[in-house]
């Protein structure tokens, strides 16, 4: 699976909904249950899955799924 597919799987797991489909522009307005608690769950799941660590600046910049995918890919290259 590529990063986007893995991220999609994380969204489905966190929101316990296999029908969730995300794309690069998907943001909190598109998923009703995506609140600050879910956001932390997503971030922690991504850290675990991709073996990366986000910092304060990373957290500030995350607006949508595309931001998440790009951040993960850049952290994995380091």
């Amino acid at each position: 699976m590529n990063t986007k597919e893995e991220v999609q799987k994380i969204f489905q797991d966190v929101f316990e909904d296999d029908s969730i489909q995300v794309n690069e522009t998907t943001n909190a307005a598109d998923i009703e249950d995506w609140d600050s608690v879910a956001n932390i769950d997503l971030v922690m799941s991504m850290e675990k899955k991709f073996d990366v660590r986000f910092n304060l600046e990373d957290i500030q910049e995350l607006e949508n799924v595309g931001d998440m995918i790009r951040l993960i890919d850049s952290l994995r290259k380091q």
């Binding site: 909190a28 609140d35 600050s36 608690v37 932390i40 769950d41 922690m44 304060l56 957290i59 607006e63």
Partner: protein
């Protein structure tokens, strides 16, 4: 509102939560406008004041989110030493000012902070202060609680304010000087760590909001303030469970732990509010260690 438009333009995810809160709390928008009208001038007014307040709020929100992430990763609050909180936050003028401005705005944009402030206002309104009564506030922070106390009590109170941060003192002093200049001379500001102060005063009312989580031994602080409280006086205390932040040290895991400590330090709780940071079932709040704010009006116990 300009400040909200600015926040939404910088961080779209804020819009959903804030708009939901506004539709749930009628009158909140009006209160926010009133707050902005009085608070923005201390930041110089104009467009840059809106931006400064908005940026401060966004930075504080991100710091809180990151502190939560660290807390959930490591199982402990990210700041462990009082000295680190002093150096990195209380004595760091830029960080402290941004943090306090962010928290000031959160009194209107975060439901749990708003509810605690409402609780405080309701109880201050109902206390019968004696003319010239002496009161104490420990940790004035952004100054909004102090402003409310001074503005909404019938008699002129004398207020001693102790805060560990010069930045907070300056912010609160400036706020009172601009909004209530006629009462500015009723306030005696002291920049010090309350833990290091020994005084013989007795106060009719003590405000110590969001203080206990900032020290290693909140029980010792509660005992100390017990000595300052008049036998027929009241105090407002607030703190929080599972609430990591850049300067929080003491980790209350449950509301029951907070209540127990207050009672064990010789107080009776006369009224309380439990305000979760998220609208979730209690089981989920506890399981996910989501922060819950707690506020209470307390007095000396009869035992």
């Amino acid at each position: 509102m300009e400040v909200l438009d600015y926040i939404y333009s910088k961080k779209k995810t804020q819009k959903k939560k804030i708009e939901a809160l506004f539709s749930e709390m009628p009158g909140l928008a009006e209160e926010l406008e009133f707050f902005l009208k009085r608070y923005l001038p201390i930041l110089g007014g104009g467009c840059s004041a809106h931006q400064k307040l908005g940026d401060s709020y966004l930075k504080m929100s991100a710091q809180m989110a990151f502190a939560r992430l660290q807390f959930l990763r490591d199982g402990k609050y990210p700041t462990q030493e009082h000295g680190d909180a002093i150096e990195n936050v209380y004595q760091n003028r830029e960080t402290m000012l941004q943090y306090m401005l962010g928290l000031a705005l959160s009194q209107y944009l975060w439901k749990h902070h708003y509810r605690l402030f409402q609780f405080y206002q309701h109880h201050v309104d109902s206390i019968e202060f004696k003319p010239g009564a002496k009161t104490l506030e420990v940790g004035c922070g952004h100054g909004l609680y102090l402003l409310y106390l001074l503005e909404h009590t019938k008699h002129d109170l004398a207020v001693d304010v102790v805060d560990i941060s010069e930045t907070s003192i300056d912010l609160a002093r400036d706020l009172i000087a601009r909004v209530l200049p006629e009462k500015a001379d009723r306030v005696n500001f002291v920049c010090s760590d309350i833990q290091a102060i020994d005084a013989n005063e007795k106060y009719q009312f003590i405000t110590f909001g969001e203080l206990l989580e900032h020290v290693h031994h909140p029980d010792l602080l509660l005992q100390k303030l017990h000595g300052y409280l008049a036998d027929d006086g009241y105090a407002y205390v607030s703190t929080c469970a599972n609430c990591p932040a850049i300067d929080h040290l003491y980790h209350f895991e449950t509301i029951e732990q907070i209540r127990e400590m207050i009672k064990n330090c010789g107080y009776d709780i006369t009224s309380e509010i439990i305000a979760p940071s998220e609208d979730k079932p209690m089981e989920e709040l506890i399981r996910k260690k989501i922060d819950i704010s707690y506020g209470a009006i307390i007095r000396k116990g009869k035992a």
